[in-house]
């Protein structure tokens, strides 16, 4: 069962070197209220696991601009020059991960798998140093689970059981990351009564949600 907390309380749980999955795609579906609280807390040397580094003034880009990110596993940084600068000068260590592989590695951790075999990246730098395994005549790269301490996600609505639904393309990485945090904190626009979300419509069952923060955005 979840506990309702403030964004500041959520931010206070996150420590230097915490491994933090943060939901969203180019900041759509990003937990902006919680991110702002982490910016306010100033916690540095975070390890972030994100699809993209978003924009300099939106999503996880704000953590980058405030020099709070020490390392990242990310698939796309093209919309954020600041992270590229910090990577080039050695301030941030980055592992670039193909987006589908990133999602499977995060899902693997959340669902108790040690990893998956994927063809994505074969014959590219992504395969370097990794085990290649042949199954039924095809080669695959062994990609291991990405461990995380926290998942910070954004949903549209929670019910009193912690069940979540999302909004359109703001769903993206959020349901996958929701499964993966040892502690999952969901920022939501509203909390409705038990039964306020049809059991058929639930995307993230409440079992994955430890804390809920109300969004300041809506």
């Amino acid at each position: 069962m979840y506990k309702l907390i403030t964004a500041a309380e959520a931010a206070a749980m996150i420590k230097p070197r915490s491994r933090v999955c943060i939901g969203g795609f180019l900041a759509v579906g990003a937990p902006e209220t919680v991110i702002d609280a982490i910016v306010a807390a100033g916690t540095r040397d975070l390890h972030i696991i994100v699809i993209a580094s978003d924009w300099e003034n939106r999503g996880v880009g704000k953590l980058v601009v405030n020099h709070q990110v020490g390392s990242a596993q990310v698939s796309h940084m093209g919309t954020n020059k600041e992270i590229q600068n910090q990577v080039n000068c050695g301030e941030i260590k980055v592992e670039l991960v193909p987006q589908g592989t990133l999602m499977e590695r995060v899902r693997a951790f959340g669902t108790g798998l040690g990893g998956v075999l994927t063809p994505t990246g074969l014959g590219t730098v992504v395969a370097e140093g990794k085990q290649v395994i042949n199954v039924n005549g095809r080669d695959y790269i062994l990609e291991t689970a990405i461990e995380s301490d926290f998942a910070l996600i954004r949903a549209k609505k929670a019910d009193q059981a912690g069940n979540l639904i999302y909004s359109k393309t703001a769903r993206n990485s959020n349901p996958i990351m929701a499964m993966a945090g040892k502690v999952t904190i969901a920022e939501v626009d509203e909390i409705v009564e038990l039964g306020g979300i049809d059991p058929e419509d639930v995307i993230t069952p409440g079992i994955f949600v430890n804390y809920i923060v109300l969004s300041k955005e809506k």
């Binding site: 069962m1 899902r107 951790f109 959340g110 669902t111 108790g112 798998l113 019910d159 009193q160 059981a161 069940n163 499964m179 038990l194 039964g195 059991p199 058929e200 639930v202 069952p205 409440g206 079992i207 994955f208």
Partner: protein, 215 residues
């Protein structure tokens, strides 16, 4: 097993549950647990075929053909329930999100090994979801009769039947006793009314640690 003994086992296991726990009950004896949840404790039951928030069985004539639990019995859903596919369901289980699972056993041993899915040459029902549940749940409780129908011990030094999982059992609750797996070995924690410590030791092949409070 007599109804009162089933109830006794269920009630004892229910005392292990904490408010807010997510729980998966195996078919048969383990389901007895649901009838004894202490007041003030709210637990959420999963059934691994794809529902969180299982409610009581429906009244006669109110069965929904699309609402069953993992044993095939008709169920209802409580407010706040959710349905999901089997991969998500086992993602929940294998991912360590279930607080407690209660399962029956053919054999348990003093290393926390469990055998409950086949008897070679005789019964091959298959493991269904049991291997994932025993591997993934945070706490694995075994609910069973202390001895088999022939009176032979089921709590052994070493399981002889094919294992369901290695070293994952936390607690064994039987009609005779409550036994806890510890790093030191299997500790006899409680003896049921009507039995002595000697009765339990005699009905158990495994080496038991007898704590001071039972000596």
């Amino acid at each position: 097993m007599a109804m009162d003994k089933r109830a006794q086992i269920g009630a004892r296991i229910a005392k292990e549950l904490k408010d807010g726990d997510y729980v998966n009950l195996g078919i048969g004896l383990p389901t007895e647990t649901a009838n004894h949840i202490p007041p003030g404790i709210r637990v959420v039951f999963q059934s691994e075929n794809g529902i969180m928030g299982v409610g009581p069985a429906p009244a006669n004539g109110e069965e929904d053909q699309d609402m069953i639990n993992a044993g095939g019995g008709f169920i209802t859903a409580l407010p706040g329930a959710s349905y999901f596919d089997s991969a998500t369901s086992f993602g929940i289980i294998r991912g360590g999100h279930i607080d407690v699972t209660v399962l029956g056993a053919l054999q348990v041993d003093q290393e926390g090994n469990l055998a409950n899915w086949m008897i070679p040459g005789k019964l091959i029902p298959g493991m269904g979801g049991a291997m994932d549940l025993v591997t993934g749940a945070k706490k694995v409780i075994v609910a069973m009769e202390h001895c088999d129908k022939q009176g032979n011990p089921k709590i052994l030094r070493k399981c002889t039947l094919p294992l369901t999982a290695k070293g994952r059992v936390s607690l064994i609750v039987t009609d005779m006793a409550v036994l806890e797996m510890t790093p030191q070995g299997l500790v006899l924690q409680e003896v049921s009314e009507g039995y002595t410590v000697q009765d339990v030791v005699k009905a158990t092949e495994a080496d038991l640690i007898i704590p001071d409070h039972l000596k």
